[in-house]
Subunit: 173 residues, 2 copies
């Protein structure tokens, strides 16, 4: 259910994902949708952001913070990210919301997502003996690579960008 909503928002944006479109994708009528989400579309988006937040917390931030081998945790992050964003064929919903109109409405969830990502990565970098300032650079690099990959319709741009970041770490730069 939530994944279907997430995919609809990802592909059409918050405004572009009309209730009728959401109904088609989920196979539910408006009555059912408002039964599960009395708050309407805004509540659907909140639910999506909450689930997304939980997923990243479990699969990315927690391992980065607590993984015994920090270097391995960072390498695992790059693999997880490549898989999550379908090697550049999928965009970041939070990034899309951040750039667009819905930013103000979901400002807290958006800010939390990026703050936690940067902090978790910085923590792992520190423990791995690398420059923690790279965290912002990598998170921004990932977001930018998603923009570029989608703009040029070339998913390889994303995969290559991830590879270059890992190479920078290996070089000790």
């Amino acid at each position: 259910m939530i994944p279907l909503l997430a995919e609809t928002f990802r592909e059409h944006g918050y405004e572009g994902a009309s209730l009728s479109l959401i109904g088609q994708r989920t196979g539910l009528g408006k009555g059912s949708l408002y039964h599960f989400f009395p708050g309407g579309k805004a509540e659907m988006a909140e639910a999506v952001l909450a689930e997304l937040d939980a997923w990243f917390e479990t699969n990315l931030f927690h391992p980065l913070h607590t993984g015994p081998d920090a270097e391995a945790a960072i390498a695992a992050m790059f693999r997880t990210i490549d898989s999550y964003f379908r090697s550049g064929r999928r965009i970041c919903l939070v990034g899309l919301f951040a750039l667009g109109e819905p930013r103000d409405r979901f400002a807290k969830a958006i800010a939390t997502y990026f703050t936690r990502w940067c902090q978790a990565l910085a923590s792992a970098l520190r423990r791995a003996g690398k420059d923690p300032a790279l965290a912002e650079e990598f998170v921004a690099g990932i977001q930018g690579a998603l923009v570029l990959a989608r703009a040029l319709d070339d998913p390889d741009l994303f995969t290559n960008a991830l590879a270059r970041m890992e190479a920078r770490l290996a070089d000790g730069r």
Copy 2:
């Protein structure tokens, strides 16, 4: 006229910029808007993208390609970019369009923008004796930094990101 349209699309997105909102910002009624742009909103966006393309060609791409001092041209690009994006307080309209729904409709203009930027920067990097592969990395880094700065409502993130890119060049990395 076009700058007013551009700012409205930047702040509200393609779908969020309704004709009534555009009318408010430009001070024109719908009759006047359709007089100048018979194709409606799509034609307004096309005009904005065309003007934007011309601006970047003149102020960024051309200097990067033909500037006698390639290193100085790259430094000038960073200054121009910082000014254009209001030190992180303004987002990139093309990046926003690329991530969102209007991507397919304006695919050509979007792809051209990023392709030319990467090519121009790669050309300057090559002539400056740097790694031309950094071009994609920097363009993506700029886009990602704009996402992050807006997500966290912290323009300094953008300025700092630009500074780190320049530092990487100076270090010969």
